[in-house]
Symmetry: C2
Subunit: 350 residues, 2 copies
């Protein structure tokens, strides 16, 4: 069994931290107010168990998505819905499918459940054939959409066509949906084999709180509610997540700032001659090149080290041909982006 390798979390200050796709802005003030209220009266509420099924979070998610609250399952953490789905639907003889590359946690969770992993490679243009996925034989298939680490999004019509021909459970991991133009929530409402998972870590700037949920067809919700731990989300995370989901204005403003920075960064890097993926997320996958260094894994590692010496952290994904030559750069504040661009220029010009 292999553990998941999270991105580096430097403990000292002074880093421009663009390596784990955290939101560069503080969370909704309403989330803070909700937590401060929950700490009032000497913290008397903390001695009591929270809602066993995270009712505040589920109610807010139900209002946001127009989804039946009973069919929303909250997790212990943003990855917990993925974990619950694998525990309930995978195991020996019931394999887990995924695109390559996508989120490297799926194989870790599958291994913990004794499930084999079926890896369907993405094509060089980042697309997949519906028939290949539909016939891959997985009991549950995880479609990271938008894809990480590539950044690209698959269209809802294509995902719908896949769901309709795939005989197993299709889980659409929408961790980055806040930054995309479309999502697949309607598919989870309409089709009996589609689950959509969400996290508050990225769009809502609450990575520190570990909250996520799954939008499920009725039968799947019923199964997950039985598998999940009781009281699986703490009181502060419940109220903060609910308040954050309610604050749609904060989300719209924050996402539009991040998307504007993403466009600006992409244009700057293209101007330097780097190859930049289209992105429907809060990061860019970009391939550094310079007059001396053609695109290669060694070039990417060289640029990574150059940036790291300047206390700018990004991330390498050396284990897949579609990502090996690239850097994954989280979108930071405008100041951080300016620092990154200056360093990228310095590296490119040698």
């Amino acid at each position: 069994m292999v553990a998941y390798t999270p991105g580096e979390q430097p403990q000292g200050g002074g880093w421009v931290k663009l390596n784990t796709n955290e939101n560069p802005y503080p969370p909704s003030p309403r989330a803070l107010e909700a937590m401060r209220a929950a700490l009032a009266d000497e913290g008397a509420l903390l001695r009591l168990y929270p809602s066993p099924d995270a009712a505040p979070l589920r109610q807010a998610a139900a209002r946001l998505h127009g989804f039946d609250e009973r069919h929303i399952v909250a997790g212990d953490g943003p990855d917990d819905p993925l974990n619950l789905l694998i525990r309930a639907y995978a195991g020996p003889g019931r394999s887990v499918g995924m695109l390559m590359p996508s989120y490297s946690l799926y194989p870790v969770l599958a291994a913990a459940q004794g499930a084999e992993v079926i890896r369907v490679p993405l094509m060089p243009d980042y697309s997949f054939e519906i028939e290949t996925v539909a016939r891959c034989g997985a009991a549950v298939f995880f479609l990271t959409n938008p894809n990480a680490p590539l950044g690209v999004a698959f269209k809802p019509e294509k995902v719908r066509a896949l769901a309709e021909s795939f005989p197993g459970l299709l889980v659409i991991d929408e961790a980055y949906a806040a930054f995309a133009e479309t999502d697949c929530v309607e598919l989870a409402k309409a089709l009996p084999n589609v689950v959509v998972t969400r996290t508050l870590s990225k769009g809502h700037a609450l990575a520190g709180l570990r909250a996520g949920y799954a939008l499920c067809p009725p039968e799947v919700a019923e199964v997950l509610h039985r598998v999940r731990d009781s009281y699986n989300l703490d009181r502060l995370a419940q109220v903060a997540a609910a308040a954050a989901l309610e604050d749609r204005e904060w989300l719209a403003v924050t996402v539009s700032k991040i998307c504007a920075s993403r466009t600006m960064l992409s244009e700057e890097l293209v101007r330097l001659g780097w190859k930049v993926n289209p992105s429907a997320t809060n990061f860019l996958l970009a391939t550094p090149v310079s007059a001396q260094c053609p695109a290669s894994a060694a070039t990417a590692a060289h640029a990574f080290d150059f940036l790291r010496q300047r206390k700018i952290l990004v991330r390498l994904f050396p284990h897949h041909p579609l990502t090996a030559n690239a850097l994954r750069i989280s979108i930071g504040t405008e100041v951080e982006m300016a620092q990154f661009v200056a360093a990228a220029k310095a590296w490119t010009k040698g």
Copy 2:
């Protein structure tokens, strides 16, 4: 698969809530300070991932128990260490053992992993034979010590003798250890097959925060660190739990108040003619009797209903002969105990 049934959590006010063994006092002020500090600066810290392995909590637990920090594994919630242990050590062909009665969550977690459950009945004097447990055939045995719902504690010498003759992994679930005179932490330091699990929910009055940890032999820690989710405990829970563990004075004062109330309540109920178990926990298991009603499940249900009509909530455990005639009464504040005693007197005198 059957879901765990948590105790009732009434949403309206006005209840004397003595049914889920919550601490009646607010948590350590140091835990509150730590959380308020983590919310400072517009909550800017919340946008960042927390320590992936809950380092602040594990360091505080290491200092408290004189235990190697590397061999402490934090959970998503107080029950998560139990869950991790079952995921790593149980499954088809590797069964889970437990005393009956004890914590009804173990069979739920075992079922989720496809593991059979071996139930060893406690004797009418609440003891068990070491040989019977040692030869039960379980791969992992959960010893709730002090026992819930009985309230009694097994002596460390007896637990050590069991660990030395049991060929599997012995997990000592010390959820209630703060209220007992002894614990088995030394066994987890000394023996390769003993794990001790702790929660902050009871003694530390942080049921709302969902924090727990396991003290493990080195090899077990290594396995659990691989099975657990990354970042599995949120930022606020990490710092609050650490601060709570550091505040030994708060714990000593709070536990001594609760134990004094426990003694008072026990004496009052014995005076009424009720049978009361000795308790090393923050609850009493007490069998109501009156001139009209001999000890029976029907009598317990009658007393339960009588109390409930007066907005006093306790808990029934009707499914086991050692608990069917009894009420489990969490120790509340002095005011709540006086309310309970008044109601118990009214019921007893008809």
